[in-house]
Amino acid sequence: MADWAVHRPLPHDSADLHVAGAAAYVDDLPEPPGVLHLAFGHAADGHATLLSLDLDAVRAAPGVVAVFTAADIPGENNVGPVVHDETLLAEGEILYPGQPLFLVAATSTRAARRAARLGKAAVEPRSALVTIADARAAGSEIQETQIMARGQADASLGTASHRLAGTLEMGGQEHFYLEGQAALAVPGEQGQLHILSSTQHPSEIQHLAAKLLERSHAEIVVEVRRMGGAFGGKETQAAAFALACALAAAKTGRPAKFRADRDDDMIATGKRHDFVVDYDVGFDGGGRIAAIRIELASRCGATADLSPAINDRAMFHADNCYYLPAVEIVSHRLKTHTVSNTAFRGFGGPQGMMAIERVMDAIAAQLGRDPLDVRRVNLYGPGRDVTPYHMQITDNVAPELIDELAERAGYAARRTEVEAFNAAHNVLKKGLALTPVKFGISFTTTHLNQAGALVLVYADGSIHLNHGGTEMGQGLHVKIAQVVADVFGVPIDTVKVSSTRTDKVPNTSATAASSGADLNGMAAKNAAETIRKRLDAFAATDPDSANWAFPELCRRAHLNRISLAATGYYATPDIHYDRAAHRGRPFLYFAYGAALSEVVIDTLTGEHKVLAVDILHDVGRSLNPAIDLGQIEGGFIQGMGWLTTEELVYDARGRLLTHAPSTYKIPTANDRPARMEIAIWESGRNAEPTIHRSKAVGEPPLMLAISVFSALTQAVAAAAPGKGLPKLDAPATPERILAALGELRARNG
């Protein structure tokens, strides 16, 4: 057992299949005979009363087999995950442009999509609340405004020696998983249904489909082999497509498949929430915050979806790595007539963190100090270690990590070089910023922090592993196979991971909140250890057992009637949260990181380029450094896209105008900075007894990209020295950079 599997940089378990084009996604599976292909008829316009649907032309179109409306749904017409406020097919009211109104089942995808365009909806248009400002003015909310506070922010603001206020707007983000939403439902015997779905949350689809069809959970099996990317976009939003298949299959008795067209997918599914942040901060001459009031407002869209939890997480991260002695965080969750925004890597955390990082830049600009100095004086530390939600920070490694990164990346010298460059150039200006990340790990809805696993050891010594987590590219399956291989002391390829199925592990949580390996890894370890103990006890009965290889041990155990199968279970310990008071310990621990980004802007066109990035990130003791590095780099680039090139543009009715890769621009290979130094923090260990002392890595690195936005802000500021902090909003498109420059130059002083 020289080669332990954990902590090794093993390749993704499907890598060979990926490169060969042999990894099967939902739409790649052989189509069952008689399969129907589905398409939604979408609302063309926004908020309206739906008077009637004329679907005669749809029914008469070539290839159409059936057309369904809300009236055809036997049970509950709902895809809403928590609050049951979101229809599969509209009834009475159209809430947002792109909302599914009816469902077409046809003999081909093209026939279904063509026919879906022939539907006529008689509507009475109603006024639409589209923007955050619209909804705020109208008092339109998904949930009442939440307040998290510690100390007396208002009083302390009044007595602070320095004070400033400001606003920051940041746009949403489309997930742009490369595999669009897809599902296939196959009817079984006695009303059972097998649903293959590209989803992060098979159990939720099982439960929603059961309600839709008035069946029991046990009659519906949901299976996920792998997703072609998800990023939160398939946590709740996969449900509509899977339920459409369930409905069509149940009504026709034929298999039904839905693969969403990219444009339809982008129009009809939710995105990262856009936010408007207002802050009012009091601080001393050294830049240390005395008091702060942060007001967060987000566009939640037409239904609740996960917006309450997402906005909670924004509040939880409005401190980032900084101690806020007197703080009030106010969160408005606004209901608009736009597609319901949803989970996206970071889940509100990035928006909260953007707020406080802007505050750091604002204080630095006001005092004329190095922003890194301002960040440093505000870090959590001894005696300054309680969060706005009254949780004591006990694992604070941010100061150490920042120092190490600043040292290895040469922050001070590069800051001098950038200043020299800016002094010598008029058109091009550079900016440099180092920003840290502290991201809370655990679902903040406490009951979700549980997981199950099923481990089967066969008499030949091979091992089959199921757990509740889904594979979306993050390398979850290989990590958990590593954990199980180590329990038995067998080579990694002894352990086979198959698809995630609700009939193997029940009542699972979504694979989300970066928790996949933490929760399922522990559950799988627990299951494996149960079997390991039985094997050990059996081996102890025979003095020869030391000579048995693992297959021999298993063979003999079987002959001696030892059970070689076990389930495992894990529930995160020690966490609790009083939601009403916004107090408690919502997180088991924090993941940390820091990034230094250097950018250049063209002050005549607003174009920019990220020149160099240095990252140091804490993954605890990595389960798989190769997988973790991939998460760090990928997360960073995705975050960079959010803050730079990715712009969602809506019209006055809330129709999305950027609904395809031709108009919505995620980073390409050439946008990756030419110099990118990424390191896993060698000293990283989880202070909590997590799986092999590792830390979650899915979401935290995305927020490292805030350094890019900060650096861009510095570059704009350099174009008009002494005029303060530019009003740069995100995404920092050339247009926004140029606008920020224009506003800055026009200021007096």
């Binding site: 390749p11 499907s14 890598a15 060979d16 990926h18 490169v19 060969a20 084009g21 042999a22 099967a24 790649d28 189509e31 063509r114 742009f176 998983y177 490369l178 595999e179 669009g180 072609g228 990317g229 998800a230 693969r259 067209d261 990219r262 150039h425 008029n426 058109v427 091009l428 590219g473 250049v600 063209d602 005549l604 066109t605 607003g606 174009e607 920019h608 380029k609 997988i627 991939g630 780099e633 990928g634 960073f636 680039i637 090139t645 105008l657 950027t658 890769p661 031709s662 108009t663 995620i666 980073p667 390409t668 290979a669 946008d671 990756r672 990424i678 498109t733 050339p734 247009e735 140029l738």
Partner: protein, 455 residues
Amino acid sequence: MIRFLLDGEIVEIDGADPTDTVLDYLRYTLRRTGTKEGCAEGDCGACTVLLGEVAGDGVEWRAVNACILFLPMLDGKALRTVESLGGTHPVQKELVERHGSQCGFCTPGFVMSLYGRCIGAAGTRGVPVGDVIAGNLCRCTGYGPILAAGEAVPATADPDDGTLAALRTLRPAYRHPASADELADLLLAHPETRIVAGATDVGLWVTKQHRDLGPIVFIGDIAELRQMGESPDALTLGAAVRYSEAREPLARLHPDLGELVRRIGGVQVRNAGTIGGNIANGSPIGDMPPALIALGAELTLRRGAERRTIPLEDFFLSYGKQDLAPGEFVESVRIPRPSPDMLVRVVKLSKRFDSDISSVCGAFALHIADGLVTQARIAFGGMAGVPARAPHCEAALTGKAWTQASVEAAAQALTHDYDPLDDLRGSAAYRRTVAANLLRRIWAEQGEPVSVLHG
């Protein structure tokens, strides 16, 4: 009937709808599902395949997007998909070893793009890996391991697997017009016929707009329309010359033209799309016309046996409307070679550098002699419904001393030339500001670096 080669086997397709895509055929008829649909509009590269044709003594391969490639465009050609590689090509091995796949959905497209570069496919020779994969989107990896894998695989000669011999004997089976004359006759008889060259625009009318195109004719293989003529005076491009083929000759006219072509679509789009098609469709999102207009390009249109040659700018009448009579088609475009004393600048502004459509594209061709601007041709895209010249700006410069004051006056004059719109690519105010700044940048460039790409 459509006849093509797939891994050495002749495949014949009978009775297909000519607007069926190669991607759907691969995935749902042949069940070769390694090739993925990511967007169905040629912007993500998940469906990248290689098309091969005989060129001289060998096979010229080119990466294209199968999602907007119509089946008849395969006729007489060889096709390779990710399955053709068998899973053990060096590109595939490097991607595994360097952890170049996460979710794996985009991976087959990257494999094909990098494999194309490895065997010297069109548009990849001497081209950095980053440019070769700029038409492939990955949302997971951040690209680092993919770039590294691409760098690690050396260029190798494509081992002759019999494709060349098979292609030489493969008889095309689809009824394409064999010559420009045949095309002219066909269009005269059936002026309603839709011309398809590379299908990078028309493909979307099918996959996205679900339009019935009616009768269509494929001109991508008509030899006369594929000719390029390069002389000391000018470059003439046949209507079916693809971007990737025109890039080097255009770059020889001026490096900015080469750079402009580099930033149009990805390699896959440039390997299918034609400059003639870009002009003929009057696409307001086409980036070549402003540059060509500034250089004084002329368009030759043909109807039956009649030809007429017009300045390119006169072809664009208004948004979506071109000076094209029924039965008439774009035959070629002639671009005069800029004289050595001419200052040429073409600048494309977009939210993303690669494979994006410009918010504003500015093109400047200035004759400056003895400190005096003797002639100025300036054209912009994104400032009006059509690519158009800037007469006030040109007049403000012409005959004036080449000074910062003249440049400033000319920048101000642009206000009278255009009344741009707000759209998803930029506001009118931004477009106005930045158009003027592009002129100012030409002045600034004399003293210091101005581009973030080369700064």
